[in-house]
Symmetry: C2
């Protein structure tokens, strides 16, 4: 996607051919800074401090982390050490684990002198595969948006999104936002309602920033607003990402997604989820009962970070001292509220048989 009019990915090989560039996402939206990673320690720090975030991007960055580790020391011990270090940065990230396994599989049975090139090659492939998956999600979803736009007689299709499942969370295009980018690039008129997404404000900070950079019209709203908009016919489609989807189509995503799904149902607004198929966990069925919901630090709710009028970035506390705070990171939207799952293989109904048919190889492996 574009930044300041130039095409960019969220991660790239630097011109030196070995070090890795990323965008420091903790500084967004107030500052656009890139960071050069030249060691596995650099990569571990970038993941742990959330300079990179989003499951696909974490996986891709970790893959390059293994390559950087092998550049310093191509031994089995160094490989193992690198994987242990990287796996500990975000222990619950499924993609991180997957990317490390991929790298080990490619490297382990090779002679030392071949390992480095193989690692860089596989890391680049992991990035390109992510982009290809997201482009496919984008094409399938853009057809839905295009159909709405075609019926709107010049008015833009109104899409509401929650959190950030955009290109910043992936290598490029994003998952939930890929259909929006593809539709926009095809010339469809699209306007996006961006939930600010408390407590971490990834909507206001990241989604608004990346849509703005790419030139997609959008409006930031408080998370409380979507129901009112849907009641008044101001939303044509809700489109969100997913952290995990069960074999029955229940969707675990950023806290607050379930509330938007309820409002969509109550107002006849279609509710779609954009996701790469590895997000589907065929070992789970009832999301609300089976998916443990991470409780995060109270500080995320009790404080807000932003930029002062004179340009300093400050953290301010909004909750009285002495008040208890709870911070649940995710919630589960039952499949009955989901209109469709937009995957790289098309739009799938959120039902066990439909998902198993579309991803037979994975559904069978989970038995």
């Amino acid at each position: 996607m574009k930044v300041d009019g130039k095409d960019m990915r969220t991660i790239w090989l630097e011109p030196d051919g070995w070090s890795v560039g990323i965008i420091d996402q903790t500084a967004l939206p107030h500052q656009f800074t890139t960071v050069r990673l030249s060691s596995v320690q650099d990569v571990a720090r970038a993941i742990a401090t959330m300079q990179v975030r989003g499951a696909p991007l974490i996986g891709a960055t970790a893959a390059y982390g293994v390559a950087l580790a092998l550049r310093a020391d191509a031994s089995d011990e160094a490989l193992e050490r690198a994987c242990t270090t990287l796996a500990a940065t975000r222990p619950s990230a499924v993609n991180l684990k997957w990317a490390l396994d991929e790298m080990v599989a490619v490297v382990r049975n090779r002679p030392r002198e071949e390992r480095l090139a193989a690692a860089y090659r596989r890391a680049a492939e992991i990035c390109d595969e992510d982009v290809a998956i997201n482009q496919a999600i984008g094409r399938h979803g853009a057809n839905l948006i295009g159909a709405i736009a075609a019926n709107r007689a010049g008015h833009p299709a109104q899409v509401l999104t929650h959190c950030n499942a955009g290109w910043l969370a992936t290598v490029d295009f994003g998952t939930a936002l890929a259909p929006i980018y593809v539709a926009h690039d095809r010339g469809a008129a699209v306007h996006v309602w961006v939930d600010e997404t408390r407590p971490r404000n990834q909507g206001a900070a990241l989604t608004a920033w990346e849509l703005g950079q790419h030139g997609v019209p959008h409006t930031v709203i408080a998370d409380n607003t979507g129901g009112h908009l849907m009641q008044h016919g101001m939303v044509d489609m809700v489109l969100v990402g997913a952290d995990r989807v069960t074999a029955d189509g229940d969707v675990c995503n950023k806290i607050g997604t379930y509330l938007k799904a309820l409002a969509a149902k109550d107002n006849g607004v279609p509710f779609y989820v954009g996701l790469p198929s590895p997000t589907i966990d065929f070992s789970l069925s009832d999301g609300a009962a089976e998916i443990p919901i991470e409780q995060r630090t109270a500080d995320e709710v009790a404080t807000v970070t932003g930029r002062t009028v004179d340009g300093r970035v400050e953290k301010v506390r909004i909750v009285p001292e002495g008040s208890t705070v709870a911070n649940y990171g995710f919630d589960v939207t039952p499949a009955r509220l989901v209109s469709g799952l937009i995957t790289e293989r098309g739009v799938i109904e959120p039902r066990r048989d439909a998902l198993a048919a579309a991803f037979a190889e994975r559904a069978q492996a989970a038995r």
Copy 2:
């Protein structure tokens, strides 16, 4: 209610017998400051800058504003000027208009020398009437909470609230929070989930502060959280205030209320609204269609005000420059999602016949 262990109201006559004391609510929760109002200009400024807010408290403060105006000049012209000034401070506040009409009715047909005493008397009555109404709401609602607590075998009754309809919004006790205070003071175990209530954070700033001061256990959560809590059986009742209720029982309240009502319905959690009966507008029926929703300044969504680690109060921007922002202040919860309206005359079903029967004199006057 209590502040630092002492009983207080939100507005009081100072020991000098004529000037009026208020709490500066714009400084909460970071600072507890009282302000002395000694002229109608002081009162107009306090209302306009939201040092006092909440319909009942605005009305009570405006009433004292008329008294202070008459203290300087008891003429008809001064009375009219004062009402014009005060009415302009918050043009859409129904209670403000009502309180001014009350004051004019009491003063106008009296000789000048009697006006001042009559005005102070009526202002004090308006305050006491508000307290009496809220205590009645509190008693009726506390019975509901008590019944839940009795079934919880020692675990607290879990009540979720949105925004601030507490004693800070009234002269004392509050509307939605009155049942909680009464239940707590009766010895029932109650715990309150406090929605932070973006964009102005009245939940985190005001509700959490007043519950904390009175010693009611509570936990502040992001507005996105309630659905997850209800899905997991962690909420026994939702209890909110109202800005306006239609003759058919539709409830206009702070933006985001509707989303919580949907989650309550989806999870079989009772959803109650605490309100003084003047909030019912018998001239309206379909709330979503008929109640215009105020759009407020983008700044409220784009920025957050809080306290820095070193104690300064700062405003920080969280939305990228160049992103559009929308700020709808209220939404409408359809009567079908409301379990009951807790009024000073008891818990009323949100239906036209039930409301008309309970408030026959007002329902008939609206025909």
